[in-house]
Every structure is written in C-alpha cells, then in structure tokens.
C-alpha cells in the first residue's frame, strides 16, 4: 500500500543509478522513508476527519454560538403607565429626567480626551465629582458592556441640557437622553393616597427568580407596594430593544434594528381626589387635635365606599406614606420612619391591620338575634350598669329600661349581651360571615389581612393547641427538675423518694391536661357576651367594616371592593372596564336589615351617641360609634381605646358607606366620626363645618 503512495513522489524508481552499492543503499532508504509516508498520511487524514466533523456535523451548533457572540440586545425602557383618579387627576406618573451618556460608537475614532474635558467643563460646575478622570472611570467600569450607553450624570438641569445640546457638534458620542422616573404629584399641595399608589423600586434577586418568566432585567423597576404592585403587569409596559453587533470587547460595531417600547397602561381609579384629600386632611386634623390629650393617637385609617358597586372613593392610612420617598435611595432616617418607628408608616392600615370592632359590631348582634327570632324591637331590657350573667361585663352607664332603638342609640352593652346570648354565637357567626367579616374582601391590593371572626370551630382549634402546649411545657419542666434532683441524690431511699414525687406530679399534670382539654376547646358563654359587644378575640380590617356597612346599607348585596375603574392604553383606548363583582347576596331577611338600619339612624338622632355629629347635617346619616379595648400588650385598660366609627348615607337611599379607626382615639365619634363628617360633607356638597366646634363640651359617650 505504501508503495502505491510512493508513486506520488515521482519517477525516482527508474533505475537511474548503476552503482549496485548505491542501489542497495537507496532501497534501504526507500524502506525507511515509507514509514514517513504512513505517518504523514495518518496526520493529514486525522486533520481532515476532525475538520470535516467541525464543519459538517457540528456546524449548526457553532454557527449559533458565533451569532450569540456578536449580537447583543440593548433594552429601551418602556414608559410606565400613569394612574389617575375618576376625574382624570393624575396621581402617579413618570417624569422625564435628563441623563448624559457617552456612547462608545460615537466617540470611536474621535478625540476622546477633548470630549471628556469639554463634558467635564459643562457638568463639573454643578457636580464637582465630574472630571475627565471620573468620566474615564465610568468608561472603564462598563468595559464589558461598552455597547450600552455609559451614564455620566443623571438628573441634568435644564441649563446643562441646553449647553450640551448647543455644543452637540463638538461633542461626538455625547448623548442627552430622557429617562422616565416615577413621580407622584401632590394634589392641591398635599401628597395624597400614598398607601394606595404604593411605589416602584429596583427588582430584587428574589423577585428576579419569582418572575423568571416575565423577562425582567437586572436593575429594572418593579411595583413593590400598593397599586404599583397589584397592577404591575398592566403598568409595566414592554421594553423595546436595539440590536447591535459587538466585537470581542463588547464594543458596538453597528446597529441592526430598533424595536420601539410599548408604554404601560394607564389606570383610571375609582378614587375621587377631592374626597381623598378631604379624608386625608381631616384625618391629619383629627389626629393633631387628639394628640393634645392622647399622645398615643398617631395612627388611623378610613375608607369611603360606594354601597351600590363596591367602588372605593377614598382610602386613607396614617402615618402617611409619601411614595416619592421611595424614588432613589432611602436614607436611614426615612427607612426607620417607614419600617421601625412606632407606629410604622409602611402599613396600609385599611387592609393590613385588623382592629377589634367594639360597638360597631352591635348591628350584627342585633341582626343575629332578629334572624333567630329572639328580638322584638319593642321589648325592653333593664340595664343596671352591668350584665346579669357572669362575668357581669359592665355597661358604659346605667341605661335603665331600653328597647332596641334606645339600645342602639346609647350603645347599651347589657342589651346586646342579652341579645347575643339569645342569638347564640353560631347565629352571630353566620350573620358576620354573610356580611364579609373575618375574610379577605378580595381587593386587588397586595397584603390584605383576613381578620378573625371567633366561633366554636376557631375555639376548638385554638383551645386544643393551647392545652397541648401547656401540657407539653409542664411535662418538660417536670422532667428537667426530676433529672436535676436525681443527679443530686446519694442514697437509694432518696432516689425512690424523688421518683415517687415525680410520679405524683405527673399525675397532677395529666389530670390538669384532661381538664384543660375539656375546658379550653369549648366555647364559653362569656365569650358570646364579649363578642356581642365587639370585644374579645374578634378583629377586622377597616375595609371589612366599611364593606359590611355597605352590604347592610344596600340590602344585602356584598360587592368586592375595588379601586380601578378601567385600564386604558397610553393613548386612551379602553383595555379593560371593571364592573362591580357581587360576592354574595347575604341570606338575611330584608325586614331585619331595615330594622337594624333604622337602629343605626337612631344613633345620630337626639339621644344617640353620634347625634352631636350629624344633628344639623342636610342628609340623614345612619351610624354606629365604637370604643374598643385595644387588646394590645402593655396598654392601660381604662384609658387606651381605639376610636371606631361606621356610617352610611343617605339613610333612605344609601349611596356611600364609611368606616374609620383612630388608634388610641378613645371615642369613636370624636375621632373617626369627625373624619366621617368631613368626608360626607364633601361628598354631599354640604357646608364645611369647623370640626372642633362639633365636639360637645365635656361629653362622655358610650
């Protein structure tokens, strides 16, 4: 075989030599050189095979990699959608901030030193850190992403923009670009609806992971709170891209094409900015007034809801949250204010905090008794200052004989404890549940609290776990003590004594446990009394209270509260119109509900606890005041009360429902009631009254 290949070498074998010695030598050499031919052919054959594999079989894969090497996508940020109130007042928007960039493609081939000096001369005076060296540093820093524009300064002043634009010809590669930054404009001088708006911030690594399918970029803004978070996918829009060809150092070589960004959608809210502002102002005013006597009155929340649709007209939470604080880095003081102060501001107290309802729960007790057929409105109960059943829970006063209307008007504890007893907790539970208490309302805001509606089921679960925990910890304690004692014993007699003692104690614990299991998981009568007057373990969000009043007011249609009326494109084309969502039609008799509404009207009539608030009001308002023990550790039982107020109006043909809480506000009427008055004045276009004048001198209610 090698001989055949040798033929390739030429016609050397023609017997050109005659010398036999030389011929022999030549033959030998020929034999040796055949080895070379084999080696040569093996080497070239191997190389051919390998190259054939690379260029035929593996070709596709390498072509893809080669493309990935050179094509890079540059994102163009989409404009985030605005949010506006029902009348078009813009509450959240994006404002252009002018940034100066240097693009590598632009300065390439030019005099970069000169450009750096000129840029530094223009931007330096307002920002001493900008020097030619600083610009070079920025360029060096983005060495691996040179195809992206390099940020030199953000937030340029108008004058800086003008100077840069004027000298455009001298500054090749310097680009001034508009970049949208989130902005929440104040309304008539005040920041409003901060907790509702929420805010956007840079996406976190965890969010990157969680929303892996949504193609977020590192450093992109994402809604973190409030509507910004709840409606992120509508507001975000779609980033555009610029496709550039880059070289090995990621410097752009040329631009292939642009895909323009699609701006985010615009949310038109159900909120009325005027009402919202009115609610915010009166909340601030009320808190300020209360703080003179009640320094702990720092926080609160109120909601005004349309009873016919569930649309929220205003929603306030205090301490205030200004979303503009979250644009850019958060300093320590601000961060403490939002997260670590007492009370912290970073909570939307309308949905993220649950409060004991106090006397605002009494309409439910009444409804339960009515539904059970145990309440006759004309029947009287005698209030002697405390209920006649154990544990003899006190009333606010001594009301004497009270019928249903008087009991509502005076918020008589004795009357409602008796009605609660008659109705039983199961009936109270059913009515409260029909009206939406102790369950999420389903509002499209993140982080809604569920609250707690206690009943037999809840008690069973809670009591079992309480008894078990107590049993376990006592056993552990005993074992520990016995071990210690056993370690100290000397004689056998002593040991026996310790063991005997241990067995005795164990018996006691076992017996107590059996008793505990009988007692704790069982609903006790006093708990019904507590629940009847809105104390005990029950607690609800302000929004739940508002929606319960709205449902009662409209005759039992429980709607899902909502904040967004419609979603539009940036150009104003309708994307989605939201209509009221009926969650359930309460299975309660219309007559009974009407009776309870009438009872609530009595509250604002002469003799009622909220009479002073609405006696001169042009529209009939039905309401209920509440003063609730906070149930918080460390609070003083006789002084620290939350002030709670619920209302709907007009009584005859209800349109709106209100619920409000002022933490440590003491009386419902003089705290949250004031806010209700201000908001309803605004809503019905009534004459504005001086709220402080409404507070009756030296009055003690409830």
């Amino acid at each position: 075989m090698t001989g055949k290949f040798f033929g390739l070498l030429g016609e050397y074998a023609n017997g050109l030599t005659t010398d036999p010695e030389a011929a022999k030598k030549r033959k030998e050499l020929e034999k040796t050189l055949r080895v070379f031919v084999v080696i040569i052919l093996l080497i070239f054959g191997g190389l051919f095979c390998r190259l054939g594999y690379l260029q035929f079989i593996a070709r596709e894969q390498y072509q893809t990699t080669s493309e990935e090497n050179r094509i890079k996508l540059l994102p163009i940020q989409a404009m985030r959608g605005d949010m506006a109130d029902k009348n078009g007042v813009v509450l959240a928007t994006s404002v252009p901030v002018y940034n100066a960039y240097i693009t590598y493609l632009g300065v390439k081939g030019g005099n970069i030193e000169l450009v750096k000096n000129k840029v530094a001369a223009i931007l330096g005076p307002n920002d001493p850190k900008i020097s030619p060296a600083y610009i070079q540093e920025q360029i060096d820093k983005s060495n691996f992403r040179l195809y992206e524009p390099i940020l030199i300064k953000s937030g340029l002043t108008e004058q800086e923009v003008a100077s840069l634009e004027e000298r455009r010809m001298e500054l090749p590669g310097v680009v001034v670009e508009k970049v949208p930054v989130r902005y929440y404009p104040p309304y008539e001088g005040n920041q409003i609806a901060g907790h509702l708006m929420g805010y956007v911030r840079e996406i976190s690594p965890e969010e990157m992971k969680r929303y892996a399918d949504e193609n977020y970029r590192l450093g992109e803004m994402i809604g973190k709170f409030g509507l910004e978070k709840g409606y992120e996918k509508y507001l975000r829009g779609q980033d555009g891209y610029q496709q550039v060809e880059v070289n090995n150092t990621n410097r752009p070589v040329r631009i292939f094409y642009n895909q323009n960004p699609v701006p985010g959608n615009r949310l038109v809210l159900t909120i009325d900015a005027q009402l919202q502002k009115c609610m915010e102002d009166s909340m601030d005013e009320t808190l300020k007034r209360l703080q003179k006597d009640l320094p702990k009155a720092q926080a609160g929340s109120a909601v005004l809801i349309n009873v016919r649709t569930g649309a929220i007209l205003a929603m306030v939470s205090r301490p205030i949250l200004n979303p503009n604080d979250f644009v850019g880095p958060l300093d320590q003081e601000t961060a403490d204010y939002y997260h670590r102060s007492n009370p912290p501001a970073h909570i939307n107290r309308a949905i993220q905090a649950a409060y004991p309802p106090g006397s605002t729960f009494k309409p439910i007790t009444a409804l339960a008794a009515l539904e059970a057929g145990k309440l006759n409105p004309r029947e009287t109960v005698t209030c002697t200052g405390a209920y006649w059943e154990k544990p003899y829970i006190k009333c606010w006063g001594v009301h004497g004989t009270v019928d249903f209307y008087k009991a509502m008007a005076t918020s008589c504890n004795v009357y409602f404890q008796e009605m609660g007893r008659r109705a039983t907790i199961d009936s109270i539970n059913r009515v409260a549940r029909e009206l939406g208490l102790g369950q999420e309302t389903g509002i499209s805001l993140p982080g809604e609290e569920e609250g707690l509606l206690p009943g037999r089921d809840w008690k069973r679960a809670w009591g079992n776990s309480y008894a078990n925990n107590r049993y376990k910890s006592r056993l552990q304690e005993l074992e520990k003590q016995t071990q210690e004692k056993l370690a100290a014993v000397v004689t056998e007699a002593e040991r026996e004594k310790v063991q005997k003692k241990d067995a005795e104690l164990r018996k006691i614990i076992e017996r107590d446990y059996q008793n505990d299991l009988k007692y704790w998981p069982t609903w006790q009568a006093y708990e019904t009394y507590n629940t009847s007057i809105g104390q005990g373990r029950n607690q609800y969000t302000v929004l739940q209270l508002a929606n319960y009043i709205a449902t009662l007011a409209n005759g039992g249609s429980r709607f899902q509260p909502y904040l967004v009326d419609r979603i539009e494109t940036a150009e104003g084309n309708l994307v989605q119109q939201f209509s009221p969502v009926l969650l359930n039609q309460a299975a309660l008799s219309a007559e009974n509900m009407a009776l309870v509404r009438r009872g609530m009207l009595a509250v604002t009539e002469p003799g009622g606890t909220a009479n002073y608030l609405f006696q001169d009001f042009p529209v009939k308002v039905a309401a209920k005041t509440g003063t609730a023990e906070t149930g918080r550790v460390g609070d003083v039982k006789d002084r620290d009360y939350h002030g709670i107020f619920v209302a709907f109006a007009p009584y005859d043909n209800p349109e709106v429902a209100f619920a409000g809480v002022v933490e440590y506000g003491y009386h419902g009427g003089s705290s949250a009631g004031m806010i209700a008055r201000a908001v309803l004045e605004q809503y019905f276009g009534a004459k504005k009254s001086e709220l402080t004048n409404l507070v009756p001198f030296g009055r003690v209610e409830e």
Binding site: F36, I43, G52, L54, Q55, Y62, Q63, R70, N247
Partner: protein, 374 residues
C-alpha cells in the same frame, strides 16, 4: 552554482510554495485587517519578509550544502551562543524571553535555532549512521539535542522545544536508527508526559513548567472547563472553524476574526480564519498544498546525493510536518496550545525567514541530487 543544476530544479515544490505564500497573503489581508495601524500593514511586512527570504534562498543556492557539515561544530556552538544571548538580552513579552531587538526588528533566535540544529545534527548522525541500534548508541544523540533544547525550554518556549524532539525523531528514523526502539521511545515518552500531567493534578507532583503552560497543554481536552481564560482561544477557534461550514462566511466576512473574538488570528490562529471565511473548501485546499509540499520534500530526501543531504531534508520536513500537525490540530481542538505558527501562512518575520531558508535548503539539496552524476 553550476548552471547544469538548474534543470534539476523541483518546479512542483516551487509552485506549491508559491501557492501557499499567495494563499497566506490573501488570508492575512483578511486576518490582519483589524490589527495593524492600517489594513494592509501586516501584509506589506509579510511581503517584505517573503522578499528577504527569496534573497536568502538565492544566496543559499551558491553554497554547496555539504559546506555546512564541515562547519557543523562551529554552527553548533553558534547556536548555543545565540540561545544564551536570548536569555541575557531578550526583553520579556508576556512573561517569555524570546525576542532580541536588532536594528528596528525583533528577532526570535529559537526559530533559526531549529535550522542550525538540523544542519549540525545531520552531520552528527551521518557520522554514526550504522551505530544507532541500541539505547546506549542513542544517548549521545539525545545529549546533542538536549543542550539547545534546554536553553529554549528556559525561555520558556515549550512549543519550539517540542519541535526539536520531532526533528530529532524524524532524523533518527531516517538515519536508520532502530525503528522499534524509536517507537518504544515515542510511546514511552507520551506515556511519561501523560502520567506526569495526571500526577501533577492528582497528587500535585512538581513539574518543570509554569502553571499556565500546563493549563494550556491540557485545556484542549475540555475547553469549557475554563471558557473565559485558558479555554478561550480554543473555544473561539472551534466556533470560527465550525461556523464556517462548507463554503465559509466569505473572505473578510468572518465575524469571529473580524470582530476580534478569535485571538492571535493573524499569527497562531490564522488557520481558524481560513476555516471560518473559506470553509471546508479552503481548509481542504490548504491541507492539500501542505500534503504535496511534504511529499515533495520526502522525495528530495530520497534522491539526495548523500546521507547528509537526506538527513537535513528529513529534518526540515519533520519540522514542517510537526508545525502543520500541531498548529492545525490546535485550532481544531485536538492538540494542545503551544504557540507554534503555521508555516508560510502565519504572520511573523523570523518564522517566515526560517521557512524560506528551509525551502532554500530543500532546493539546494534537490539541485545537487544524484542524477546529475551521469
């Protein structure tokens, strides 16, 4: 030079080398377009070195190659001296001492050293032609090569020292050394190297090489192990060649080379540019030219007038063959990265001069082949 020799001239060889040089210049014009101060800077320089090399070939014609044998020991000492000079005078480039500045040029003595080794070792072998049967017989030969090789390893230039081994083995084989012994030595050598490398990674055996050299030796086994540093060259080269496909992306259109993803694309990795821009067609054409060139050289060795002539031609051929195998094998990811250029194609003055001188030696031997005796 006797004019009657001229009819002995090997035109096939000349034409093949001419085609190789032309091919090289064309691909260099593409590969170096984004390297120099102006697009054709490197082509111009390469043309200059080809011209200089042609003059060298022409002047070599006038000497009988046997003259070199007479001054073999002088040349050997001279070889060692220039290699010592490197260690003394050279300025480090990327940590290696290889270049001596002479005039305005940077010379790389290890390139010429290869030729000096061939010319001297051929004489050394020719004299002990029939005494190369035992390991003991081979020991002086090893010592002869080992001295200049050690100096080159010191630079450090692992690639060129490996070329020395290839030259030595090729010449020993041609000189009639015991074939079985050589095969055992080659196989054993590879085994020792493999074992040493394995031992280095498994048990941290010390090796007389820098860590980056070791890394480069083994990275071709799995370039993705370190794709951004030591595996970068091979990965980009494989991408370049593989993405070329059958017809390539077209001259001047290879994104890997033109956008600088492929490093050293005008020198050590110029073959990858051929693969990327001209595809398998270009690669196959180039390989065929090399194959013809090597086989012609083998024929010259066979027809040489004397053993000395045969041996120097085999030395030169072994050198070229090894360069081709290691360089192309490296770009194709089946050989370690050792920094050996592709003859006649890669950019480089010293290498081009050495290649032209080698060609001169081939022509010189072929001119004086035995047939003219009659």
């Amino acid at each position: 030079m006797d004019l009657k020799h001229v009819r002995n001239i090997d035109f096939t060889l000349i034409v093949v080398v001419g085609l190789l040089l032309a091919f090289g210049l064309v691909i260099l014009s593409s590969a170096s377009g984004n390297v120099g101060r102006e697009p054709l800077e490197y082509v111009r320089k390469q043309v200059f070195w080809i011209g200089a090399g042609t003059l060298v070939i022409a002047s070599i014609m006038f000497f009988r190659y046997q003259t070199a044998a007479r001054y073999a020991w002088h040349l050997y000492v001279f070889n060692i001296l220039i290699l010592l000079a490197v260690l003394v005078f050279a300025e480090p480039v990327k940590g290696a001492y290889r270049w001596i500045p002479i005039g305005g040029f940077q010379f790389q003595p290890s390139e010429f050293s290869k030729l000096l080794l061939i010319l001297t070792f051929a004489d050394f072998l020719a004299k002990r032609k029939d005494r190369l049967n035992t390991f003991k017989d081979l020991l002086p030969c090893f010592a002869f090569v080992a001295i200049p090789m050690a100096l080159i390893l010191k630079q450090p230039d692992l690639g060129t020292s490996l070329v020395f081994v290839a030259i030595m083995m090729g010449m020993l084989l041609a000189a009639g050394a015991n074939k079985r012994l050589l095969a055992v030595l080659c196989g054993g050598g590879l085994l020792v190297v493999a074992l040493a490398l394995y031992g280095h990674f498994a048990w941290h055996w010390p090796l007389p090489l820098k860590e980056y050299q070791i890394q480069r030796l083994i990275i071709f086994l799995d370039p993705d192990m370190d794709p951004m540093v030591s595996g970068y060259h091979i990965r980009q080269s494989l991408i370049a060649i593989g993405s070329g496909g059958l017809l390539g992306k077209g001259l001047y259109n290879g994104s890997q080379a033109q956008l600088n993803f492929l490093p050293e694309h005008h020198t050590d990795f110029i073959f990858s540019v051929v693969g990327e821009e001209l595809g398998f067609v270009g690669v196959a054409a180039l390989l065929c030219l090399f194959l013809i060139f090597i086989l012609r050289a083998l024929r010259i060795a066979l027809e040489a007038r004397d053993t000395y002539g045969t041996l120097i031609v085999v030395g030169v051929m072994s050198m070229f063959l090894f360069h081709i195998m290691i360089n192309i094998g490296m770009t194709a990811g089946i050989m370690p990265v050792t920094g050996i250029p592709l003859p006649f194609i890669s950019y480089g003055g010293s290498a081009m001069l050495t290649n032209m001188m080698s060609l001169g030696i081939l022509i010189n031997v072929s001119l004086r082949k035995q047939t003219i005796l009659f």
